[in-house]
Symmetry: C2
Subunit: 328 residues, 2 copies
């Protein structure tokens, strides 16, 4: 199997690469092509054909060549995040929309190349729950309207539509994954408005204080980085026939309140960790959070075999194992 | 008021132009700019500033100039139909998607032009019920997912998303109208799979035979050309604040079965007209029709003051008044 990853240098891309090299439902992998705007690092231990390349997908750089090598599975994770897509509208449309469209077109043209064998790769695209916007029911069903309230969500929703159309026409076999909010996101605190959901766990576990800008009753939808990688590899291999024309899925997650996050932290790391969380309401973040989904009914993804984390305690435990113990 | 119509030479564009000249909620109209790929005809009786221009919106031809004149209301009706968008995929994306995106961008850039006054025109975009795809409930609510099963429907759904994002950001004040299937469509029979819904009324009224390729129980969602024009002029003037972030609407129509169409024809034109309808099942059309919507709950459009035709009898009567009596 030849696997191509766009966006391989990002947090999920690196974890996916590591998982693929360690062994996954996609094994054996003979060839791995890793692409990002900065050159992805070579994963240790991979013995197949490896290519790590810096290329800008948003202008189609090198795209024809990547696709001419006919990867069997293409993970398309490359995107700029919601804050940046909102701040720089044209960059968001270029990277998040045009990049995806160029990729789909390159695949279509490769399959139509005169004298060439048919080509219909599996394409796994990461969408987002940002495709949804208020008014939202407390539990969102699989057939709820995509009405994003950000340019990022708009771009993801448009890419879902393109992926479905190119799949329906037989040019590729696409699946779009609306990932839950990733928690605990490793690394430094960032400026994302949702960052505190991870911060109130990650910082206390590292002995650092963390600010909680919203009320304890705030509820949101989470998956661990480990679960996200599991979703991606499962999406690369599972039978997509049950999806019919609707190629994108809301993935299972945990609907957890801030209070429940804190109690899980207390069970795993004790009162001293919890004491590092400081409550400082931020009205701007509070208003924004009110427009975010709280929970989903993910019957379609469940039926395809996608599975959520077992509990928020398990999410914290996975963070400790994957980030703190390996770093130690 | 300065009104610009893209797609002014099409059936709806011509009827809209006539209605605007005769007097509408938009009156008084000082300037009228009519654009299509073929040059629109000058409407008789218009005394304001008139420009009728052939231009290809899909490549942005002349676009900067049209927008630099700062029309207050822009009707964007230009599109290729579903059959053509399916047969020529790239032409469909170019005309139905790229054309719309170029238009939205031209408006944005005009508003951002250095030293220029703010510019935020009303943009009325014609979408379609082709944005919906199976599985469909018997009555489709306003928050049902857009999951098109054609490239045409995909392009319309994408344009709805773009319209919402550009409106949310304040570059324009957009509204997308998912028109019901237009019935009775005037003119010659065309190759559209849905053509028989109009054909079984139009042809018998003209003394011609018509073929019915589906069962009498087939149910679909209709508006007259007259209602469609009323939707467009209402959309150009009504307060859009109640729409919030969701800028596109399914419009009210009549949910009518073929049997009900035929009984309405009998009431208006008698048994002799009905006798001209010949039943010849076409399994391909029957399969296609099974994927089409039957009825909608249009609470949002109702609340904004959009109104359906009174009855299918009234639809037939409007066709006779607008097409047969004026032609005689």
């Amino acid at each position: 199997v030849h696997v191509l990853i766009f966006g391989a240098a990002g947090m999920i891309g690196r974890k996916l690469t590591t998982a693929l090299v360690a062994g996954s439902p996609l094994a054996p992998i003979d060839a791995l092509t890793l692409v990002d705007v900065i050159q992805p690092k070579a994963p240790p231990g991979f013995t197949g054909a490896l290519q790590c390349t810096a290329a800008d997908l948003s202008v189609g750089q090198g795209l024809e060549g990547f696709i001419a090598s006919r990867p069997d599975v293409i993970f398309h994770l490359a995107a700029i995040v919601s804050g940046e897509a909102e701040a720089d509208m044209m960059k968001g449309y270029r990277v998040n929309l045009d990049g995806t469209r160029l990729l789909l077109e390159a695949i279509r043209l490769e399959g139509l190349r005169q004298g060439a064998a048919p080509y219909r790769p599996r394409v796994v695209f990461t969408s987002s729950i940002a495709v949804f916007g208020i008014p939202l029911p407390s539990v969102i069903e699989d057939d709820y309207i995509l009405a994003p309230l950000s340019s990022y969500g708009t771009q993801k929703a448009i890419c879902e539509l393109l992926l479905a159309d190119y799949s329906r026409r037989g040019f590729l076999d696409g699946i779009g994954l609306r990932l839950p909010t990733i928690c605990v996101r490793p690394g430094k605190p960032n400026l994302a408005a949702s960052g505190f959901f991870s911060g109130i766990i990650r910082e206390p576990l590292a002995g650092q204080p963390a600010i909680l800008p919203v009320s304890d009753t705030t509820r949101h939808w989470f998956a661990s980085p480990r679960a996200a990688v599991g979703f991606l590899t499962h999406a690369a291999t599972c039978d997509l026939a049950p999806l019919g024309g609707r190629r994108s899925l809301t993935l299972p997650g945990l609907s957890v309140s801030v209070a429940e996050e804190i109690e899980a932290l207390r069970r795993v790391a004790g009162d001293a960790a919890v004491a590092l969380i400081h409550r400082e309401k931020d009205p701007a973040i509070e208003r924004l959070v009110e427009t975010w989904p709280e929970a989903f009914d993910t019957a379609r993804a469940d039926a395809l075999g996608f599975r959520a984390d077992a509990s928020f305690d398990a999410i914290i435990q996975a963070h400790i194992e994957d980030e703190l113990q390996t770093a130690a």
